[in-house]
Assembly symmetry: C2
C-alpha cells in the first residue's frame, strides 16, 4: 500500500512460472509489508496513483488490520466515485479473523510451535526442570494452544497452556508449575505473549519500560521480558534450581523449511479465489475459508465489515475447563491443518534392571 502511495509499482506480468514457484515456497511477504494505516488523504493519494496507471482492482493480503485498510479504501473509493474492486486475502499466523475457519499462515506457524515443543519436551525430559516458552498471539491463543499437539505420552509437556482468552493469575500459574513438578518432576508451560491480568492489562505491559506502539495502536510485546519475568518468579517463589524460559519471537513466523503442505495449498487457493471473485463478480470483499468436511474447505467472498478490525478468539469449546489446556475439539480442529509428514518422536522402552545393591 505504501508502494502505491510512493508509486513504487512492479510489473508482475514479467514473472516466470519457475520464479513464482520458488517465491511461493518462500516464507514472508515477497511484495513487502507496512504498518501504515490509511486516512482520507492517504486514500486520495492511492486513487491518484491507481488512476494514472489504469488500475481498477486492489488485492491486499493480511490480517484484520489489513482487512480494515481494504474496507477504508473501498469506502473512500465509493465516496470519491473511483471505480475500484477491493479484495482482501486472509493471512495471519494469529488465526484471529472472524468468519474464517482458519487463516493461511497459521497452520505453518502452528507446525513450528508443535515441532518446537516436541523438542523442548524431550530436552526437559532429559534434563528435568521448569521450562516456559512464550509464543506469539496478542489477542488470540490459537498459536500458543498449538503446543498441545506436541504431547504424545501421558507425562509429556506442555503441562499447562496460558492463553489470552483466560485471565492470567500468578498464584494459579505457580500452583500449576508446582503440581507438575510434584507429579512428573518436571514442567513445560506454553504462554501466550498476550496474557492479561484481571484488569485486562497485558502482563508484558508492566514489564516493558519503554512501550512502543505501532500506528494501529498495538503494543509491542516482543523481547524476552515476559519469559524472563516468569522464570524469575518461579525461581524466587518456588525455589527450583533449573528454570528456563524462551521467547519464540520472530523465528516462529518465518522459519524456512517448516511448512504445512495443507497451509501452502490453501494459501495459493485463497489467492486463486480472490482473482476469480475479482474477474467474475461485481463487489469488494474478503476471501474467507470455511471447513466443509473432515478435512475439506471451501471459500466465499464475505463483506469486508464482517472481518475488518474484528478479532476472533479461541472458542470456549477449544479451552479445557481448567483454563490451562485445550480440549479434544481443538485437537480435531488443528490436526488436519498441520499437514503431512509431521516429525515423530519416540522413547526407549527398555525395562529397568533389578537393583542388586539397593533392592526395592
Amino acid at each position: 500500500m505504501r508502494g502505491i502511495v510512493n508509486e513504487d509499482l512492479v510489473d508482475l506480468t514479467s514473472e516466470t512460472a519457475a520464479d513464482l514457484e520458488l517465491v511461493a515456497a518462500t516464507p514472508s511477504s515477497a511484495l513487502g509489508s507496512t504498518r501504515d494505516k490509511p486516512d482520507r488523504k492517504y486514500c486520495l493519494e492511492i486513487f491518484r496513483v491507481l488512476q494514472a496507471h489504469g488500475i481498477d482492482c486492489f488485492f491486499y493480503i493480511g490480517g484484520n488490520d489489513s482487512a480494515d485498510t481494504v474496507r477504508i479504501i473501498s469506502e473512500a473509493a465509493g465516496t470519491a466515485g473511483y471505480p475500484l474492486r477491493c479484495i482482501h486475502i486472509p493471512k495471519t499466523i494469529d488465526n484471529d479473523l472472524t468468519v474464517n475457519d482458519h487463516t493461511p499462515g497459521f497452520p505453518s506457524a502452528a507446525r513450528f510451535v508443535v515441532q518446537a515443543f516436541m523438542g523442548i519436551n524431550l530436552d526437559n525430559y532429559s534434563l528435568p526442570g521448569v521450562y516456559i516458552g512464550v509464543v506469539m498471539g496478542r489477542n488470540a491463543g490459537f498459536l500458543t494452544a498449538a503446543a498441545a499437539l506436541a504431547k504424545k505420552f501421558p507425562d509429556d509437556g506442555p503441562h499447562a497452556i496460558y492463553m489470552p482468552e483466560r485471565v492470567f493469575d500468578m498464584d494459579g500459574f505457580l500452583a500449576d508449575v508446582k503440581g507438575s513438578m510434584d507429579r512428573y518432576g518436571r514442567c513445560v508451560a506454553a504462554v501466550s505473549e498476550g496474557i492479561t491480568d484481571r484488569q485486562n492489562v497485558p502482563i508484558a505491559e508492566g514489564l516493558s519500560k519503554q512501550l512502543e506502539k505501532d500506528a494501529h495502536g498495538n503494543i509491542q510485546l516482543g523481547g524476552g521480558a515476559l519469559a524472563d519475568y516468569l522464570t524469575r518468579v518461579v525461581k524466587d517463589r518456588l525455589g527450583y534450581k533449573r528454570v528456563r524460559g524462551d521467547t519464540f519471537g520472530y523465528v516462529q513466523r518465518s522459519f524456512a523449511g517448516c511448512v504445512s503442505d495443507v497451509d501452502q495449498r490453501e494459501a495459493r487457493e485463497a489467492g486463486h479465489k480472490a482473482v476469480q471473485y475479482a474477474m467474475s463478480g461485481d463487489h469488494s470483499g474478503s476471501v474467507t475459508i470455511h471447513r466443509t468436511g473432515s478435512y475439506a474447505v471451501d471459500y466465499k467472498l464475505s463483506p469486508l465489515e464482517d472481518i475488518a478490525a474484528k478479532t476472533r478468539k479461541m472458542p470456549d469449546d477449544f479451552i479445557a475447563g481448567s483454563g490451562t489446556h485445550v480440549t479434544e475439539a481443538f485437537h480435531r480442529y488443528l490436526e488436519p491443518l498441520l499437514g503431512t509428514a509431521l516429525p515423530q518422536v519416540h522413547r526407549l522402552r527398555s525395562p529397568a534392571v533389578p537393583k542388586l545393591l539397593k533392592p526395592e
Copy 2:
C-alpha cells in the same frame, strides 16, 4: 552417569530395531542427561554399581565436560584397579571439541540457525529495521557463524556476525548497524550468547543480576537479557524505530524435524565406531571425527586427555578480517555438513513500472 550412581539401569538388549529407529530419529538424549561432575567418592560409587552388574565397558556421550568425566572415571578405575574400558562419544551443538573436524549435533543445530536466519532475513526485508538474533555457543562461535549460510543475495542478512573469538566492542557494533542501515535500509545481526568485552568478561554476565552456575562452573547465559539489552542500546543511541531482538534459546538445540541427514548418519556411525573400539581394542579414549575428503570423514580413537575439558574455537581462517563475518573457508567447511534438501528461498524479479506522476 547419575543413573549408574543411583543404580537406575535399563536393559537396552530388550529394545526392538523398530523402536531404536524411532528413537534414532528423535532429538535430545533418550537416556537422560546430568550436570553432575564426578569426584573420587562419586567414582567409587560408580565402580561399586558397575561391579555388581558385571559391567566392564562405559560409553558416555557428550561434549568436553563429558569427555573430562570419562577421563576422571577412567583414571579412577586405573587407580582403583577396576578393569573398565571408557569410551567417550562426541556430541555437542557447540562444535567446540579439539581434535575433531566437527561434532555430532552441531550440523543439525547449524541447519536450524541457517533456516531461522533465512526466514528472519526475509521478514526483515519485508518490514525493514534492525534485527538481532542471539545464538547459543558459550565459548565458540561456530553455531552463530552458521547464520552466514542463510545469505543468498548480496544485500541479504546477516549483515554482521559477533563471535566470542573476537572482542565485542559496543561502538564498533553500533557503527556496523548504522553502516548496514545506511547502505541497505535494514540490518540483521547474529550475536553469540558468549560475546565478551576487552577484559574477557561476557557481556551477558553484567546483565543477569542473579547469576547461576552449574556444577562445571559455567555461567548460565540463557534468558532474553542480552538480546533485549542490545536492542535497547541500538534504539537509544541510533534512534531507529523498528529494532527487534530474539534469543534462539532451547528451541535451536532440540527442534524436531530440522535435521541434517549427514549429521544423523555420522552420529550413528560415531556410536558404531565406539562399539568397535570397545570390542576390538584394549584402551579407553574418545571417538574423534576427521575429514578425509570433500566430503568424507573417518574416525579414530583419540586419547581422552586430548579432548577432555579443552575448548576448540573458530580458527582464524574462518573469521573475516573485519572480525564480524566469516570467510569462504568457513562456507566450504560448513556447507557439506548441513545435509541435503536445504530449503531454498527466492525473491520476485519484477521490473519497476515507470513512474507517471513523479517521473525520476
